[in-house]
């Protein structure tokens, strides 16, 4: 495999992971614009513990994911008192605060950036990506996933059927942060150098776009969204000046023509039905 293809595949793997980080909260109706902040926590914590304590990368990823999850759980109760556009604004602010913290944290280089000593192998990143996707897929086959939809759809009815709405909301938010932490740690050990600016609002917006354009109803949607967003700019490289214009037009066209996202449960149902009727 060429170095270019490998680099694209690794970028794709990390984007697919963080797309799931945006998907879980959105499945429960939460627009999280602070995903990049949780990625930063995962990246810096994993980089710090592997640099300082010489831990293996796998333990670094676990520590980074745990740290992002812990911050999310602690902040979820006050944050999730808001909903809709106010929750989006609150998570946006949270992402900015996390970025600002790392910008001032001398122990990880502050604004000068932080070198990551341990470099993850291609196979480690692919294995981690596959593990995350397998776990999210398993989770999507459970009652938990059904309740995410129920809570997004009608919290009052969910509550009257005995579902702990707040618990489901907190879990959706913090599991999303956990996955963002994994994605951030992968990023750290792939690119070997961290700067707070890497985890800015634009990254959070992109992650949300993966999910919205891919579709919020299935696990497959965000994966496809991440593929689309990672590969399309590369495919358009032929015309360097115009590629971002074409790319933006693509996004607008997709939103206008298919606002529910590329993949919907209805689409998957039709595809499986056709396969069954053929067989």
């Amino acid at each position: 495999m060429s170095g270019y293809a490998e680099a694209i595949l690794l970028m794709l793997a990390i984007n697919v992971v963080v797309a799931q980080a945006g998907y879980l909260p959105l499945a429960a109706g939460q627009l999280n614009l602070g995903v990049a902040g949780f990625m930063a926590i995962g990246a810096y914590v994993s980089a710090f513990v592997t640099n300082t304590y010489d831990l293996p990368i796998v333990l670094g990823i676990v520590s980074g994911a745990f740290a992002a999850w812990l911050v999310a759980v602690l902040l979820a109760v006050p944050l999730l008192r808001a909903s809709g556009i106010y929750l989006a604004l609150a998570t946006f602010a949270l992402g900015q605060v996390i970025q600002a913290v790392f910008l001032n944290l001398e122990v990880v280089g502050a604004a000068a950036g932080y070198a990551v000593k341990k470099h993850a192998s291609f196979s480690l990143i692919m294995t981690t990506t596959a593990t995350v996707l397998a776990l999210v897929f398993l989770l999507s086959r459970t009652r938990f996933a059904l309740y995410l939809t129920a809570v997004k759809n009608d919290p009052v009815v969910s509550d009257l059927f005995g579902i702990n709405v707040r618990m489901i909301k907190v879990q959706a938010f913090s599991l999303g942060a956990l996955i963002a932490g994994v994605g951030g740690a992968l990023y750290a050990h792939q690119y070997s150098y961290l700067e707070p600016q890497n985890f800015n609002i634009l990254l959070s917006v992109y992650i949300v776009l993966y999910v919205l354009l891919g579709g919020t109803q299935t696990v497959l949607g965000p994966i496809l969204g991440a593929f689309f967003f990672t590969l399309l700019p590369e495919l358009l490289r032929g015309s360097e000046q115009w590629r971002y214009v074409v790319f933006a037009l693509f996004i607008i066209a997709l939103m206008a023509l298919r606002p529910q996202g590329l993949i919907t449960t209805e689409l998957l149902r039709r595809l499986t039905l056709r396969r069954e009727s053929k067989g």
Binding site: L139, T142, F144, L146, V157, D159, G162, I163, E266
Partner: protein, 261 residues
């Protein structure tokens, strides 16, 4: 000592701001009854349901289930004490299938952590899916099982909303205008379905405008107007009640009607 009523509404009042919607309302529902709560538009019937299920807190009074005071109980806990309800303006998950919607009603009987995290959709025969399918089949709705509910006719969706409430195996089922918007055939099917639900040991409390439907289904009627109880008894008894006539027809017409009879 006699057994306490299944549901007791004890001098309940509810104010929204300064506006009294329910005033000193008391009534009881005994186990095994089919009781209707009727009254003109705006009488406070839906508010009564929202007070029982805990959507709104009371301003005064108490609500008891089998003698246990649930006035302060969180709305989420009440279904575990046997209170389940359907909704007047069908509140289903529109993009999910009939089965998935009905599965929401199974939550009170499947609420452990392992229930929450079992990947049931990978099982060949999930007991939950089977139970939901059986419930749909009993209601003669089997052909809609796998369809997203937003593609189904109004009457079918209405009955899926009802099945979901029954799935929680309540002692008391609150039905908010179950016959509204149904055609005569669907209304007849609903009547049979509700009688079958009642035969399985579930007590019914019904808010309904279709008096013919109420007359056939219910054994007893409580009439409220402006949040106060104005009559109680069998359908025939309340029909002869002057206050009820006045509430429904207006004072003058009621007098003329009773003069004529």
């Amino acid at each position: 000592m006699s057994k306490p009523a299944l549901l007791e509404f004890a001098e309940v009042s509810k104010l929204f701001g300064g506006l009294a919607v329910i005033t000193q309302l008391s009534f009881k529902v005994d186990a095994g009854e089919r009781l209707a709560l009727i009254g003109p538009n705006g009488a406070g019937k839906s508010t009564v349901f929202n007070l029982i299920s805990g959507v709104y807190p009371l301003s005064a009074g108490r609500i008891l289930i089998e003698g246990k005071d649930i006035t302060q109980m969180a709305s989420r806990r009440r279904i575990y004490h046997g209170v389940s309800r359907s909704f007047q303006n069908i509140r289903l998950m529109e993009h999910q299938t009939a089965i998935e919607n009905i599965m929401l009603g199974q939550h009170p009987t499947a609420s452990s952590l392992s229930d929450l995290l079992t990947p049931y959709r990978l099982q060949r025969r999930s007991p939950w899916v089977e139970e939901a399918k059986e419930a749909l089949a009993r209601a003669k709705l089997a052909q809609y099982a796998e369809r997203p509910v937003n593609t189904l006719p109004y009457g079918v969706r209405k009955r899926i909303d009802l099945l979901r409430a029954v799935m929680a195996r309540p002692k008391l089922l609150l039905l908010d205008e179950p016959a509204a918007g149904l055609n005569p055939v669907e209304t007849e099917e609903l009547h049979e379905q509700l009688m079958a639900i009642h035969d399985s040991g579930i007590t019914l409390l019904v808010v309904e405008h279709d008096m013919h439907f109420v007359d056939r289904l219910c054994t007893r009627v409580v009439v409220i107007n402006f949040g106060e109880k104005i009559a109680e008894g069998t359908m025939d008894e309340v029909r002869r009640d002057a206050k009820v006539r006045e509430a429904y027809l207006g004072a003058e017409v009621a007098t003329e009607a009773s003069d004529a009879s």
